[in-house]
Amino acid sequence: MNNLLLKKQHQQYLKKLKREKNEIVTWQIFILFVFLSLWELAGRYTWVDPLLFSYPTKIASLFLTKLQDGSLVLHTTVTLLETIAGFILGTLLGTLFAAILWWSRKASRISDPYLVVLNSMPKVALGPIIIVALGPGYISIITMGASISIIITTLVIFHSFHTVEPNYIKVIRSFGGNKKQVFREVILPASFPAIISTLKVNVGLSWVGVIVGEFLVSKQGLGYMIIYGFQVFNFTLVLLSLFMIAIFSSIMYLGVEWLERKLIKH
């Protein structure tokens, strides 16, 4: 086959890929549009109770009001910072614990039943204790954000450390490498994919911990906005908070995906 023909076929193939992608995006936008329109109509014509379900334009106008008086930025920033802190803390401590367990086989065997119990326990149930112990402030909320992800991070990453191909370790050991070198050269880099995938899970978990923490104590944050909206029966405010949470948790998730592309090239 000559070059010209090959080139033409390749162009056609690229065109086909692009057409398929356009079709998917069109569908996605269409579904969003239909959903928002139906919601708007249902709210305005009281097919559903607008007091409970509100409707998009009402939420949008509340968004603008809250944006102008500065309260939305404040609440969102507080929650976002708490979530990021809890997320980083939970992941780092979880990885550290996993490293300790990997280092000492005895420690991992001794701690095994405790980890199982801690993992199956709902961590948000510790909320009241954490708040009394650490005081009703952002430290408690960050602790809740971290505590919810720390055990599962430890378990998942320890499992990944433990299942690294033993022959990679043999390569390092055959050059006289010690345990520290095995960890740095093999165990940690080989576990990056597992660490990234726990990051993805932890994004969601940290939001849960922080929002519940804010339900319980705070005077600020999106969790507080939800509770406040609930107490004064302003569900437009609740839905606005949910909208903000959806936006920022998605951005965090995309951030982790970006990190994944940066870290794991091969």
């Binding site: 022959n167 390569v171 050059f175 006289g176 490498g177």
Partner: protein, 258 residues
């Protein structure tokens, strides 16, 4: 005095169900520059023996000495080549080759240069910045050879390094390893279950019998085959007679109810 000396090596594997003797009272010695193959059916403890020689595994009884020094832990005196390349996928080819030097804290500019020269001599200088997943199986095993030789070990331990390759690549790599080892005057021990490979590559073949592993017989490869490249040796008129001889021995070992 011999280069490598194994004194009455025994090794027992302990599991919950039993204590199994993998190697029993095994002794032999190898002189400098010699290429020796360990050949035997599965269960004869040949890979265990290689781990013991490398210092990765401590024998239950007996000792190994290299140039009159006891081997207690792995280090720069040994180069170990595994069944598959096990190149680190997150490191470039170049970084993979430096790993031994890095671990031994000997990554000097001169050592880097000599490693790169070694890469070039194997026709791999174009791919030095590539990652292992971009290379073919044969190329990867060649990189693994460079990685093993980079630390300039006194003794090379080859644990079936050709077994995962296709036949054509395997023949080519046998020639390359043979030439490289002879050029650097290295002593080597090859573990294999391939009779042809053992005859083509080595000076001496130690045949092991299984359960527990001990020496069944030692074959001296005819001197004209010793000096030939493995590919030429395989085509030599005397090759098939030697093959038959070892085949019969190996066959009787596998059938005898031990």
């Amino acid at each position: 005095m011999s280069f490598l000396q194994l004194n009455a090596i025994s090794h027992v594997y302990l599991t919950k169900s039993a204590a199994k003797e993998a190697i029993s009272d095994l002794s032999f010695s190898i002189s400098e520059g010699e290429f020796v193959s360990l050949l035997g059916p599965s269960g004869c403890g040949k890979s265990t023996l290689l781990s013991i020689i490398s210092g990765l595994l401590q024998p239950t009884e007996g000792s190994v000495s290299l140039q009159n020094k006891m081997i207690e832990s792995p280090g720069e005196r040994m180069g170990y080549m595994l069944q598959q390349d096990y190149l680190f996928p997150w490191k470039t080819i170049e970084e993979n080759c430096y790993i031994g030097l890095k671990l031994l804290n000997k990554l000097t500019p001169e050592k880097k240069e000599s490693t790169l020269a070694l890469l070039e001599s194997m026709g791999l200088s174009d791919v030095r910045h590539a990652y292992p997943d971009q290379l073919s199986g044969g190329m990867r095993q060649r990189v693994a050879l460079v990685r093993t030789l980079a630390t300039n070990p006194d003794l090379l331990l080859l644990d079936e390094p050709f077994s995962a390759l296709d036949y054509q690549t395997k023949l080519k790599l046998e020639d390359l390893v043979f030439k490289t080892l002879k050029a650097h005057q290295k002593t080597a021990i090859l573990v294999t279950h391939d009779i042809g490979e053992a005859i083509a590559m080595s000076d001496r073949i130690i045949l092991l019998s299984p359960r527990p592993g001990k020496i069944a017989k030692i074959f001296h490869v005819p001197s004209q085959l010793q000096t030939m490249l493995p590919f030429d040796a395989r085509n030599d008129a005397t090759f098939s007679a030697n093959f038959q001889l070892i085949w019969k021995e190996l066959d009787s070992l596998e059938q005898s109810p031990t």
